[in-house]
Assembly symmetry: C2
Homo-oligomer: 469 residues x 2
């Protein structure tokens, strides 16, 4: 995205951007919110109530300066040019025609970036908006972003979900769909997933996947990039940018509209070319993007990648206090082209000497009465084994002696082996929650089902292969 001039001065190149950086979208010091307390669209997101809610969130969370412009109110601040400071970012949530008019005022006044919440734009209105970029260099997210942006570092939150703010963390989310983005937001808040930034792309007339990847690649608060996409505008550029990005941090993507029927629908939904599933699959592979099959897998994978190191080989050990769930985990490990590690004789002998009655063949069933001491010993022995590249731990509470606090030994041991990922399955419903309360804030990713944990290891192995390249 290089609308720039380069001057050659002696041995130095001086590059001058004629366009503002997208940084202003995520990291502004001064914001203006432009909406209306009277205008209500028949079908659409311009509404006094939503305007009030966005204002509420902005004032509640944002660390910088905020001004609210009610274009139908009578307050003095109604006139942008009379503000004592020029905002870097304007968030606009009016019907298309009024939004475009306000956008122009902002661009003229020197606002660097616009987040356009509302949708329903005609092509000519999109073009008008795009021309502002060309004329003023202003950067535009949207229109039709619905929710706009979230940045957990500076408290920027342009969503209209009152008081909803995800936990600070290192997963960045880019969503082409407001609905899927909102789903991920709700999921992340409920399950306490740490988020760095959210970007709802909407119709992406300007800022798109490519530029967001670029931005998040450099963003020091982001460790993993999560992407929901339906279509892409410039496939080649996207792949190029993704390949650069995955060398530094992983990208997990969920693609919507993978069948002919739904692709057709996606086209009308976000006005972008959906493209066939096979093409996307090949492109993702080429780009080194890890593909998720559904929203939960997207998040589960991102959590694994954000908390654990990539896996350097295929060999998985399973350490469990129950038999059946360990077998289910083993099934998914093997089905996903990983291997059940063959433990060295030394490891096996040590375990079986320590715990007579335990058969130390992988998957290791440590039996229902295993508590923290046995977990610690066996996990450490297994991680020490050079035949093991990663470990899937299962600790059931029901039908077992295990207590939630016993789980504390897992991160304690795992941290000694930073190159070997460890994931944990406190299986079930209530019991998952109990262990989550103990380990949720540690670096151990938690899954409520062995199959999910096995898939997380698969993704960690996939990223291992990508960085090894």
């Amino acid at each position: 995205m290089a609308y720039s001039l380069t001057f050659h001065i002696g041995r130095f190149d001086l590059k001058v951007n004629l366009m503002n950086d997208v940084k202003a979208i995520f990291d502004p010091k001064r914001i203006v919110l432009i909406g209306s307390s009277t205008i209500r669209e028949k079908v659409g997101m311009a509404s006094p109530q939503l305007f009030k809610s966005v204002a509420h969130n902005m004032h509640k969370f944002f660390h910088g300066k905020i001004r609210t412009l009610d274009v139908n109110g009578k307050a003095k601040q109604n006139n942008l040019s009379k503000m004592r400071w020029v905002p870097e970012l304007a968030v606009i949530m009016l019907p298309p025609k009024q939004s475009v008019a306000q956008a122009e005022k902002c661009a003229e006044a020197g606002v660097q970036a616009l987040v356009m919440i509302t949708g329903g734009y005609k092509n000519c209105e999109r073009e008008q908006l795009f021309k502002l970029k060309e004329k003023y260099g202003v950067r535009i997210l949207g229109p039709n972003t619905i929710m706009g942006v979230i940045n957990t570092s500076n408290g920027l939150n342009t969503t209209f979900e009152r008081d909803v703010m995800p936990k600070k963390g290192n997963i960045a989310v880019i969503s082409q769909s407001g609905g899927v983005g909102a789903y991920i937001l709700d999921w992340a808040c409920f399950y306490g997933v740490g988020i760095s930034k959210f970007a709802f792309m909407g119709d992406k007339i300007d800022v798109d996947d490519v530029e967001l990847l670029q931005y998040f690649r450099r963003d020091k608060n982001t460790k993993v990039i999560c992407l929901y996409m339906e279509g892409v505008i410039d496939g080649r550029k996207f792949i190029e940018e993704a390949r650069k990005t995955v060398k530094e941090k992983p990208i997990v993507a969920l693609k919507g509209g993978i069948t002919q029927e739904s692709a057709q629908r996606a086209k009308s939904h976000t006005a972008s070319i959906a493209g066939s599933d096979a093409i996307f699959d090949a492109a993702f592979k080429k780009a080194g993007i890890i593909r998720a099959e559904n929203i939960e897998e997207l998040m589960d994978t991102a959590i694994a990648l954000s908390k654990q190191s990539p896996m350097r080989g295929d060999n998985v050990a399973i350490v469990s206090n129950v038999g059946g769930p360990a077998i289910l985990a083993a099934d998914v490990v093997v089905k996903n082209n990983l291997k059940l590690a063959t433990l060295s004789e030394k490891t096996k002998t040590k375990i079986e000497k320590l715990y007579p009655g335990v058969d130390a063949t992988n998957p290791i069933d440590m039996i229902a009465d295993a508590r923290s001491e046995r977990y610690a010993q066996v996990l450490e022995l297994v991680l020490e084994d050079k035949n093991v590249d990663g470990v899937l731990v299962i600790n059931m509470l029901k039908s077992c002696f295990f207590e939630p606090n016993d789980a504390k030994v897992i991160p304690k041991i795992a941290v000694k082996f930073p190159d070997k990922p460890v994931v944990d399955v406190p299986a079930g419903g209530q019991d998952f929650e109990l262990v989550y309360n103990v380990l949720g804030n540690t670096r151990i990713p938690l899954y409520n089902m062995p199959e999910k944990a096995a898939k997380a290891l698969k993704a960690l192995r996939a990223y291992g292969k990508i960085v090894q390249k």
Copy 2:
């Protein structure tokens, strides 16, 4: 399972069972629990603490008569023959040798059925136990059932998870693994899934899958049978029994040990022949068993089958207030060999006339401001359409105007069309919970992800085909 003699007396056949019915396992009026307040196995489930916990649950929940025998205590009731009433069922949780001795005493005294909790039996001990069946006709569940049985109708609960009792409902669970069974139990309690009975099979030296299918087929409180299995003893009998059963109620099965490596492990885990995955897949198809890929899918499928009618055709309509999640649902619908219904022109015209701005092409995006009135109207029109066989409803709260109570219209409309299944997706985390609080006790199955709901419809269609045969 016919150890019986038939006498021909005139025109009548008089059949005399030499063996007791498995009914006594689930529906006894009088129980004895036999354990010890002093014996503790080094590795295993015989422990004073667990004995106390099982006794606690028995006394807390069971509606009939209970006696507890502490074989190491000094109390009078220590002697079974001195009891004023003969128990129908004995639950025994001692180390193998003592368990077998107690089992014999029970059989002699006329106890009809035994639930053998503890594991670690040698082959000769299993044989001793089996001989009791042959000699006395006593029926045996286990050994190594770990958790035994639950019957939500009469409060029978032989598990040692204190105060854990699932909600009364119509799903029966058969698990060969204590761990997987305990997982399902925890999951069912946490998510409020209605259960009729739980049977933990363990080593199944006597009562096995075949006989449990037979029993649950006749059980009027059971509408769906959920099965976790690792291996089967008599494949042909199992298929035969399953085929009979699915004519009356659906069976959903999860098979553990589907890869060579894990199958090997399953063999040592439950001492049964695991068999290759392909053979099981063919057998399940032949038997009309619906196969689940993981534990959550097992439960999700059972919930759908327990609450909705089978689907009579392939055509699915998606009714949503968001675009992206509807596209993801459409993807899964098509990937699973269902079809996106083509709505009749009449239906489309009616919807678009009622709600200008809504494009009534399936999947229908009713737009973010849809509330109960729009949901009711569109859902009814879609269900009336003869091109539609089932409906997947999505109602997001975040990024939308929808309120939890708006969801009440969904069962109200759905009940008018008993032959067309309706499933609902209140997407996300917190928002799922909010809608669950409103619809959880209705006949609408709820899923937190569009993909899960699409798979539920796939299962309803699969059962539709099975009953149509």
